[in-house]
């Protein structure tokens, strides 16, 4: 004999009701009490990548680890395309979460803005394509961002590596076009939040000559920016400073890409009477991928990174902060990019994190207890096979 259909439905309803009540409550993640960053090196920063991090506890934990490492600065990306709707509405939920947690950890935020929503660009163009006709829309987003996070975010970077064609929508990149963008955005941001510091750039180090389809030499590009009247439309300059295979002390040269290329960028600023402005290195670091030809060995990466921070502190009073690219990715990239990070997607701290933490706290990164996390083991000093120190760079500290 068949039971009435409503009987099965009733059972399902009761089951669903029971499951609703026995389901564990969602994880409550709150920013917690205000923290402060303890560091001996206030220049130290990291470029976080929380844009695509969905789970709030991971956002919070990432920022806790940044603070615990002793980095007072973060650079984070807040894409226009993610948050702005065609009708003028904004979805502030995720940026509110990131900014709130960063502020609770006592971190200073440099917000990078970019990526054009599809409604603001022609069909079949990439996210990095920003037409002049949409400058006003982008400026409106930047102004809304600046107003909303007044007191929590004090720095904005307008775009990213505009001197590379793929960051300029796979078009020929020109300084004049970027300065026209700066002018519109700067004016709107300052009207919304006069305290906001607007950073230009961040320029990508490259040797591409004028007319190259790939980009334009950053030194030439910067001079072009000044020639187009950029000085009035930015408060500081963001640059990227990668060491590639060179040590941080390697001499700079116009035909070389290395860490000290920043000094050549500075010369351009000074030559244009803009020495009062600071430089913010919003991406820096070395890569230790085992196959990439522009990578170094992992021990060299640690050595060079610490030496670069010391070099900048000692020799570059015009540099306000240095953000190491990148703190952590939400998921493995399965490429050389994974070898720039300080923490794995699973929150495993790499030895370079420990070294930077020790550096920030002025303790010896060579201490055996930091190199061996097994509390039951005696630990050993890092040593070469001949018994001499395998970490000569650590003696210098």
């Amino acid at each position: 004999m068949r039971r009435p259909a409503y009987s099965s439905g009733l059972r399902l309803f009761i089951l669903a009701l029971i499951l609703t009540f026995i389901r564990p409550a969602p994880l409550l993640v709150t920013p917690g009490p205000p923290q402060t960053v303890e560091t001996q090196h206030p220049i130290l920063g990291v470029h976080t990548r929380l844009t695509d991090e969905v789970e709030e506890w991971k956002v919070k934990h990432s920022l806790e680890l940044v603070r615990q490492m002793g980095a007072p600065w973060i650079v984070e990306f807040f894409p226009w395309a993610y948050y702005a709707a065609a009708d003028g509405g904004y979805a502030w939920g995720h940026p509110d979460m990131v900014v709130g947690h960063a502020a609770a950890q006592g971190l200073t935020i440099i917000a990078r803005l970019g990526l054009t929503p599809d409604w603001a660009r022609p069909p079949d163009t990439p996210l990095t394509y920003l037409d002049k006709s949409a400058y006003g829309d982008f400026a409106a987003y930047a102004a809304a961002f600046a107003a909303r996070y007044r007191g929590q975010v004090d720095y904005l970077i307008i775009g990213n590596e505009p001197n590379l064609s793929y960051e300029w929508g796979y078009r020929l990149t020109t300084p004049a076009d970027y300065v026209a963008l700066l002018q519109v955005v700067y004016t709107a941001v300052k009207a919304a939040n006069p305290d906001m510091q607007v950073l230009a750039g961040a320029l990508a180090p490259t040797l591409e000559p004028a007319g190259s389809p790939w980009g334009l030499n950053d030194l030439i590009y910067l001079q072009g920016m000044y020639d187009a009247g950029a000085a009035a439309y930015f408060d500081g300059l963001a640059v990227h400073a990668y060491g590639l295979t060179f040590p941080p002390e390697a001499e700079p040269g116009p035909d070389i890409l290395n860490f000290r290329r920043v000094e050549l960028v500075r010369q351009v600023m000074e030559a244009n009477g803009d020495a009062a402005k600071a430089i913010y290195i919003t991406e820096t670091g070395w890569n230790d991928h085992p196959r990439w030809t522009l990578a170094v060995r992992p021990a060299q990466r640690i050595q060079y990174t610490l030496a670069a921070l010391e070099y900048a502190e000692t020799n570059w009073p015009f540099v306000r902060m240095m953000a190491i690219w990148a703190f952590r990715f939400p998921a493995p990239q399965k490429s050389y990019m994974d070898y720039y990070t300080l923490v794995t997607p699973e929150f495993v701290k790499k030895p370079i994190y420990d070294a930077l933490q020790a550096f920030a706290q002025e303790t010896s990164p060579a201490a055996p207890t930091t190199m061996n996390e097994n509390p039951g083991s005696a630990g050993v000093s890092p040593a070469g096979a001949d018994g001499t120190s395998a970490l000569p760079f650590l003696k210098e500290q």
Partner: protein, 264 residues
């Protein structure tokens, strides 16, 4: 009106099916017709692929040629930067990638990976006289040499939280780590599969522990729609594996793994 709509719908479905099937079947028939398999790689990674003075050599190069010979095809190599490999494949500039690429599940919407042909994951190296270490759990109470800051160092620290008495001994280079093993200052060295096998090949007195510690499979890559080509490549790899040619190619450039030895 309804009949016209039905006809239109059926036509659209048939058109989509034709386009879909035609798209999927295009690559392999074209390869057969032209007799050429176009392979993309980044020739900057010895011993897998390197261009020295115009001469392209390496494990991947030999493997591509072996696959070509097995399938009755010539192989045409094209060079791309590491970042541009997948774009080159997506835009049809090559038929397949063979460039020490790690299987990436996040890319499988657009690309398909062959069966793995090499595991570049971490391996354990010990002295030849050492017989008690076959896997990481055997290192309790032992000393493990690693390269400072490398993935092996991260992995070793994770194991040190699980194994009582495991001492992690960082060295600035992989060479120093294996020298410590040979000198008796460490019981084993944990290395990435490529560096480790190169050291194994070039350093007398070392041996490979039986088990791989982690898995990082290298595979060929094709466009997700090229199922026929993928099947051909997998069948070819299977034949090369069964004949021992894959192991021979691997051994030519790197020391053979224990599994490859067993196979031989």
């Amino acid at each position: 009106m309804q009949k016209s709509l039905r006809v239109l719908c059926v036509s659209v479905v048939l058109l989509l099916l034709w386009v879909g099937c035609n798209g999927r079947a295009q690559t392999w028939p074209r390869i057969q017709q032209e007799g050429v398999l176009r392979v993309g790689l980044d020739p900057t990674y010895p011993p897998f692929e390197v261009d020295a003075g115009g001469e392209l050599t390496g494990l991947d190069v030999d493997l591509a040629r072996a696959i070509g010979a097995d399938l009755g095809l010539d192989v045409a190599f094209s060079y791309f930067g590491y970042d541009g490999l997948y774009d080159a494949l997506a835009t049809g500039q090559v038929d397949a990638l063979l460039s020490a690429l790690v299987v990436d599940p996040a890319r499988t919407k657009d690309f398909a990976y062959s069966d793995p042909y090499f595991n570049a994951g971490l391996i354990l190296l010990t002295r030849q006289a050492e017989t008690a270490i076959a896997a990481m759990p055997d290192l309790a109470g032992r000393t493990l040499a690693v390269e400072l800051g490398a993935q092996s160092h991260v992995e070793a620290l994770a194991w040190s939280r699980k194994l009582v008495g495991l001492v992690v001994q960082p060295h600035t280079t992989p060479e120093e780590a294996v020298t410590a093993v040979l000198a008796g200052a460490a019981d084993a060295a944990l290395m990435d599969g490529v560096n480790g096998r190169l050291l194994l090949r070039d350093t007398p007195g070392l041996t490979l522990a039986a088990e791989a510690v982690t898995v990082e499979p290298y595979a060929l890559v094709v466009r997700a729609a090229d199922g026929d080509l993928l099947r051909q490549l997998n069948d070819s790899l299977a034949r090369l594996r069964a004949s021992g040619e894959l192991a021979a190619i691997t051994a030519r450039w790197l020391s053979p793994t224990s599994q490859e030895r067993l196979h031989e």
